[in-house]
Amino acid sequence: MIHYFQTILNSMTDPLFVLGADAKISLANKATVKLLGYSPSELIGRDVSLLFADPKNVPLKDELFLRFQQDGLLRQFEATWKTKDGDTIPVLLSCSVIEAAAGSPPVDDLTPSAKLGGFLPRRGLVCVAKDITEWKSAQALLSESEERFRMIFDMAPDAIYMKSGGNFTYLNPAALKLFGASRPEELIGKSMWDFFHPDSFETIRERVKQLQSMPGGAVPFSEQKYLRLDGTTVEVETTAAPVRFQGQQGVVVFIRDITERRKMIAEMLSDKVKLDLALKSSGMGVWSYELRKNLRIFDAQVCRILGIDPESFHGSAEEFINIVHPQDRESIQSALQQTIASGQSYAVEYRVVWPDQSVHYICARGQLVRDASGQPVKVKGVIWDVTERKQAEEDKENLQQQFFQAQKMESIGTLASGVAHNFNNILGSIRGCAEMALDDVAPSSRTRRDLERIVQGVESAQKLTEQILSFSRSAKQEIRDVAIRPIIKNAVEMFRASLKGAVEIRESFNSENAVVSVDPNQMQHMILNILTNSYQAIDKAGGVIEVGLSRMNMDARAIARIAALKTGEWVELTIKDNGCGMDSATKERIFEPFFTTKELGQGTGLGLSLVYGVITGYGGKIIVESFPLQGTTFHIFLPCKNYPL
């Protein structure tokens, strides 16, 4: 029996020893001996304090021992053993009271104690020790890791807190700061609900429910309002996950203060709204040109400005360049290449031709955009329509030119009338004297022939001064409302008769009932004058003069082209020849009095200036289109009414 018992004791891997009531070791198994390094005889009979590194803190001898005696229940506690060599070993001791059954023989009788390596007291404490060295180092590691996590939590820029049962159980410094607390004690144990803004109650309740129904998961981020200790509101974004903390089920909550972000987003939104508004009200469109894909991306406004159908536009270079006015293609392409190559701003003006063939002026600005490595990736910018401005500029220029022209004509007219008056006096004396001299010379004399030439010269000069005076527009006109078509028809017939077929005259009149306010004789004279000019410009066979008459409604665009005409009904008379044409210097001067391209003595240089003066006097306008070797076209515009049919 004893042997059996001994075998059990010694085969245990954990140390086991028995203390007597006097706290002296009465029995110790092999594992005890092995762990501590003492021989059994060195242990038996010794005070238990021998085993401990710090005997004072061991409760065995004192009240604990007494308590064991009272209730006999198992007690567990940690202690540090000291081996014979002086090493320390952490152990977990499990102790229970041991007592011989009543009526059993005394211990001395029961055991030759030497056999057990000791003896068994009638009443004592049986202790099993567990070497917890490894557990302890694991524990140390654990606490180190805890330390590490704690540090992470403490350093985290985002607020993190834990709660359990609706109360704060932990807050990191960022959380303290968020709530406006300086120490955790100000919040720990307090109800979370005091720190939720009433606006967020419902959201948070919902999330609490979610957390309860999904253990192990986290609820997604949501925006909430929290209250600080001072009662102010802070806007936050939170996520939460259920945790066990300090032995209790709880929730860890991660909070990010989004007040700044909110403000920033609000500012960005308002900036974007402002930008959109600015773009919209300025009529600007946003475009970008993606270099790698060679793709143009246009917003709806750009499409509208360029006259592009957004549905059918794919953004290719060809599609874009095809709508650009041919004369502007090269300049905008080279400007774009320069922007890409040098990074300088893209700033161009160009024209686009809409599908209806109308021409629109575009102003474009852009900047090169590079990627992180500095490679150009796109050019991005805006465009806007400047057609109206351009037209206004052109109109202004035209008006200015016309004004100068009119001014020049007027001063020349004033001069001309003065010259004419004196001229006639001079001519009068020359003629008078020459004729008197004629009376004195013999009919066959050479002097007579010379004098006759003087008189002829005076007659030519007389006609010229007459024209000068007409030009000064003091000539008496009989202006009345007449149908324009018969006047032109008449003039053309008269002219044709005088030509005897030398030049072909084609007519195309499609203005049946247009009525204009003119002096019919003068008008006819004007047409003959222009026809004569056209005829004289034709210096080859196969000459053709085309005379056209058509009604036109002056819309804004047509006026921009012709300039200075009022809106309304107009009739346009065109006289076009296929003659030698004019260079631009000649063209500019042809309405000036005394300007002539004809040889001296062949033309007076007053015909076209007279036409100009008269047509302007009718409230009309005459312009000339001509290029060397390409013929000349006169356009005469007259305001018209409808003939009452």
Binding site: S417, A420, S429, R431
Partner: protein
């Protein structure tokens, strides 16, 4: 011989006119402007007055109106080479005043002499 008063501010023309008429044996007196012309006429009335229209101090139209008023039987030929308007325009005014004849400068000697002959004879 009939006496003819020429009123014209242009010396060269005035002298030419005088010479043409004197060669036909008319008695010619001259004035260089309308005021002088009327003065001379008052002192010594002529059978015919040939006056220019545009002149300084007193223009031809004023002269015609004054002479007609003062001497209803006066015979006048108005001549003009035009000014701010054509000669025709001025002479049209004269025709309206109904003073006799008008001539547009420069005219032929024959035209003038024929007109003078019709009005005052040789």
């Amino acid at each position: 011989m009939p006496r003819i008063l020429i009123i014209d501010d242009d010396e060269s023309f005035r002298l030419t006119l005088q010479e043409i008429l004197e060669r036909k044996n008319y008695t010619v007196i001259t004035a260089v402007n309308g005021a002088e012309g009327i003065q001379i006429y008052r002192e010594n009335p002529a059978d015919l007055v040939i006056t220019d229209i545009i002149m300084p101090i007193k223009g031809g139209i004023r002269v015609i109106m004054d002479l007609k008023k003062e001497f209803p039987g006066v015979k006048i030929i108005a001549i003009s080479g035009g000014g701010l308007g054509t000669a025709d325009e001025y002479l049209e005014v004269v025709r309206i005043l109904n003073v006799g004849a008008t001539l547009k400068k420069p005219f032929s000697n024959a035209e003038l002499l024929e007109m003078v002959y019709k009005m005052v004879g040789e």
